[in-house]
Symmetry: C2
Subunit: 155 residues, 2 copies
């Protein structure tokens, strides 16, 4: 919900409900980050979920579908499709472990690893470029503020 727009959120209402402003700031800050982040991801020819899978598999010896689904926060059915498409692009491979043939170990192919090693550091550098505009103290304050905010949504 991008509550930014709702007409009832005029200045008068916001003044009475300061939390609305915080909510909007969270949403717009995340959106600003994502716009910057995703524009760069799209240049790799991958979608965000695909990029997420490649990054999750990078520097590991592989992961099972269920682990991967949990890490990337998609359901197993959805992950099947994502892995299918990455397999078509020759970036990952399904390996059947002999000891449990119910599972697949998802592994980066050499092409997948090459892509990971090519794009990952570049992407991090691209992000760092902006975060470097903050001082160490500011980074600490922001981190603390976010942790406090997150804590109210923990069940």
């Amino acid at each position: 919900m991008k509550l930014d727009n709702a007409a009832p959120f005029d200045a008068k209402t916001a003044a009475k409900q300061p939390f609305l402003t915080v909510m909007r700031e969270l949403a717009t800050t995340y959106q600003a980050f994502c716009a910057y982040d995703e524009a760069h991801i799209r240049e790799t020819g991958l979608t965000s979920p695909q990029f997420d899978v490649i990054c999750t598999l990078g520097n590991t010896s592989g992961m099972f579908m269920n682990q991967l689904a949990e890490k990337t926060l998609v359901t197993k059915g959805t992950l099947t499709g994502i892995i299918d498409r990455l397999e078509q692009k020759n970036l990952v491979r399904r390996e059947v472990p002999p000891e449990n043939r119910r599972c697949f170990l998802i592994v980066l192919t050499p092409e997948g690893e090459a892509l990971f090693e090519k794009i990952f550091p570049v992407h991090i550098a691209h992000l760092k470029e902006r975060f470097d505009r903050l001082t160490p103290d500011e980074l600490t304050e922001i981190k603390t503020a976010l942790q406090r905010l997150k804590s109210v949504f923990a069940d």
Copy 2:
């Protein structure tokens, strides 16, 4: 990108690159908020973009497709589909202004207004419930921190 998962993000790396921690906190905080927010939205029978449109139109006298697209951050082609589905549900209506018949004024129907008036305050109350766990000072600090963070992504 949910960089939370990437294996290279071990504690050692994070210590050298404190911004990675901030990035993760932003993503996980937003995700925690969204999980709470969207679970409640889904109970209305609307998707997030649909709910967003209803909230944007609430308490206005209508909006043109292009305005609405800009406000809700979707392209005009995508918005056409969203409005189509809201029209099927009898929640919005396309009106043709006589002075410019190229445009459509998108307006809430009585059913749409009734829904808005029913769900909007309840949704706000649902959110407020959690934000009330923060003190006024904390809210201010968080707001300031988010604004500072957002500023580095402004072009």
